[in-house]
């Protein structure tokens, strides 16, 4: 299976905190796909783990990479735009 990757920006002034982490985990579980998130050029973490996402300690203004194991570009686009929405705070 191929992987589609995209970038999102943390726009929430308080950074990547518990609430967006929970929202993303819920979305990932509902999608049934393997999705990973991380900072550019750093270790990626599974996006179904709220603790791992919180441990990224993402700050407002930082860019994150999202990798989605799917071949369906439109499904991936939908997920990425929802994740971006959660990170808007």
């Amino acid at each position: 299976m191929s992987t589609i990757s995209a970038q999102v920006v943390i726009e929430d002034p308080i950074g990547f905190h518990a609430r967006p982490a929970g929202q993303i985990v819920k979305l990932v579980k509902e999608s049934g796909l393997e999705i990973r998130i991380g900072k550019p050029n750093e270790k990626m973490v599974k996006a179904n783990s709220p603790l791992s996402l919180m441990a990224l300690k993402g700050k407002s203004g930082e860019t994150l990479v999202v990798e989605i194991d799917t071949e369906d570009q439109s499904v991936a686009d939908g997920i990425v735009s929802q994740i971006q929405e959660f990170l808007r705070g």
Binding site: V9, E11, P13, I14, G15, H17, A18, R19, G22, V25, K26, V45, K46, N48, S49, P50, L51, S52, M54, A55, K57, S60, G61, T63
Partner: protein, 542 residues
């Protein structure tokens, strides 16, 4: 009140007081000390799985019984408990030889350490550790229930209460006192939503024992041992005497949404428009035109009256992505606010130009001010720069103690000053405003702050400069009366507090406000300043 009543100060939650017998919650029973398993990894893994599932369903049950705010907390906790990475980490610990309970506690600790040191997660870490304890307790068959009385009336006294604890509160819990925790702890949130009188962060409560009787007095920010309801501090009720507040009440905003909200309040203009949000979230510098568009939109939406716009207040702890700010050891004492002018003059100049264009387009009464001004020269530098770029009124924030004595020389150079009391307290008392153990010094009733405020108001009046206060303190209705009495010309509160602050400032006349401010100035501690001011206010009634 007789002198043998011991008074313990803390932070009050709610407006009603209650007096009842104490039910002292003992410190949690210790879990068995960390231990190894006997070699059956599969059995240990199974124990972790079933303990996690059992605690999970406890959380679901507790959530189902709770109202919305609490239910969301339990859903979030359950999601964390069921985190696969946490389970995998626990299995790794079992592989290393630890028995199920120890393995899970260690796994939780691994994540707690990863999250430590980040203020966003401070209060979450305590919740996550509590989950670890619960799973371990289940593995070992230990009850972590509080075993609270179900009949009678009790004031619950304990270290702090987790969401799982507060969900066990029975109807017999009529008051709550915690030794630790702050105004944003779960205990405070739950007590506020269930209207249970509480005092949190009350260190003196550690010596209280079951059977004593206490008065929980949230309005007085205190617990009084042995006192009854007659000693309770009365909640203030403000009866309007005039149509308009003693000084004008403005609103603090940071975004277009805030401006819209503020416009629905009774605020007369905006006393602090924080401009950071426009910049903190963009990777590239917004163009001049983009800035003009944003400012035009926001200025047009603001409530009628003057609009005080603060130029960018960024620093290495609040970095603007496109300004390349270096890491600093002490960001609060580093290059921030107007100090950015050295490296980024063009950026600040462009911001002032954008604000001027938006002012001209909307025809609004715009005032601009710079944050973090520490010397006369800096104030003059900003004044001259802004004067050359626009027709707004020009002022500075008063946040550093060093600038106070310069106010007397700034008449004619500045139109106004605005005090940021949060930062002024931080720099007056050398106390990090985010530090959980130094919260008492950030209390705006501290005599040192009130006396600095008196100087600022006097010096501004003598220099013919309009003075205002836009910090957290101006959102406290009683304190806004002190500010008006000290001689400030305006206050600016968060939009949700504007109504209350206005009512307070409509309930007194100038002479009464002066008496209240003099009373506050007579205190030797924050508690005393506050109670002297409130006593004076109460004396005007009836």
């Amino acid at each position: 009140m007789s002198s043998n009543h011991q008074v313990l100060s803390g932070l009050g939650v709610g407006l009603e007081a209650v007096a009842a017998e104490v039910f002292r919650v003992a410190p949690a029973k210790p879990l068995p000390i960390p231990a190894n398993h006997t070699g059956d990894k599969e059995a240990e893994t199974h124990k972790v799985r079933s303990a996690v599932d059992a605690v999970s369903s406890q959380l679901q049950e507790l959530g189902a019984k709770s109202e919305e705010t609490t239910r969301e907390i339990f859903e979030a906790l359950e999601m964390i408990l069921q985190d696969e990475s946490l389970f995998e980490q626990a299995i790794e610990q079992i592989d290393q030889g630890f028995e199920a309970g120890t393995a899970f506690v260690n796994a939780v600790e691994t994540f707690a350490e990863l999250l430590a040191g980040d203020e966003t997660f401070e209060e979450r870490i305590a919740d996550i550790r509590d989950l670890g304890r619960r799973v371990a307790a289940h593995v070992h068959g230990i009850s972590l229930g509080l075993d609270l009385p179900t009949t009678g009336s009790y004031v619950l006294v304990g270290e702090d209460f987790s969401p799982a604890d507060t969900a066990q509160f029975t109807d017999a819990v009529v008051g709550v006192v915690t030794i630790a925790g702050g105004p944003t702890s779960h205990t405070a949130i739950i007590c506020r939503s269930r209207s249970i009188p509480a005092v949190v962060s009350c260190q003196g409560a550690k010596d209280i024992v079951s059977g004593q009787s206490v008065l929980v007095d949230p309005v007085g920010d205190r617990v009084v041992v042995g006192a009854d309801l007659s000693s309770a501090t009365r909640a203030l009720s403000f009866v309007s005497k005039s149509q308009e507040p003693l000084v004008s009440v403005r609103a603090n905003i940071g975004s277009l949404e805030d401006a819209v909200t503020a416009a629905t309040s009774a605020a007369k203009g905006v006393g602090l428009f924080r401009t950071e949000l426009l910049y903190l979230s963009s990777k590239q510098k917004p163009t001049l035109q983009q800035q003009i568009d944003s400012y035009t939109e926001i200025l047009a939406a603001c409530p009628e009256g003057p609009i005080v716009v603060r130029t960018i207040d960024a620093g290495s702890d609040k970095p603007v992505p496109f300004l390349n700010m270096a890491h600093e050891e002490n960001p609060a004492l580093g290059v921030r606010g107007f100090r950015l002018i050295k490296e980024h003059r063009e950026f600040i100049t462009e911001q002032l130009k954008a604000i001027e264009s938006a002012r001209a387009k909307t025809g609004r009464d715009v005032w601009v001010m710079a944050p973090m001004i520490a010397s006369y020269q800096e104030a003059v530098e900003f004044s001259e720069l802004a004067r050359s770029l626009g027709e707004y009124k020009i002022g500075i924030m008063i946040e550093t103690p060093g600038i106070i004595s310069a106010i007397k020389h700034l008449g004619g150079k500045l139109d106004f000053v605005s005090v940021g009391t949060n930062d002024l307290s931080q720099y007056l008392f050398a106390a990090d405003r985010m530090h959980s153990q130094l919260g008492a010094l950030m209390n705006h009733w501290q005599p040192g702050l009130i006396s600095a405020l008196a100087d600022i108001a006097n010096l501004s009046a003598m220099a013919g400069i309009h003075s205002g206060v836009c910090g957290e303190s101006a959102s406290d209705p009683a304190f806004s009366i002190v500010l008006a009495g000290l001689g400030f010309n305006s206050v600016s509160a968060s939009p949700s507090q504007v109504g209350q602050v206005r009512s307070a400032l409509m309930s007194v006349d100038k002479d009464q406000a002066i008496l209240v401010s003099k009373a506050a100035l007579g205190g030797l501690s924050a508690e005393q300043s506050k109670s002297l001011a409130l006593e004076k206010l109460a004396s005007f009634e009836g």
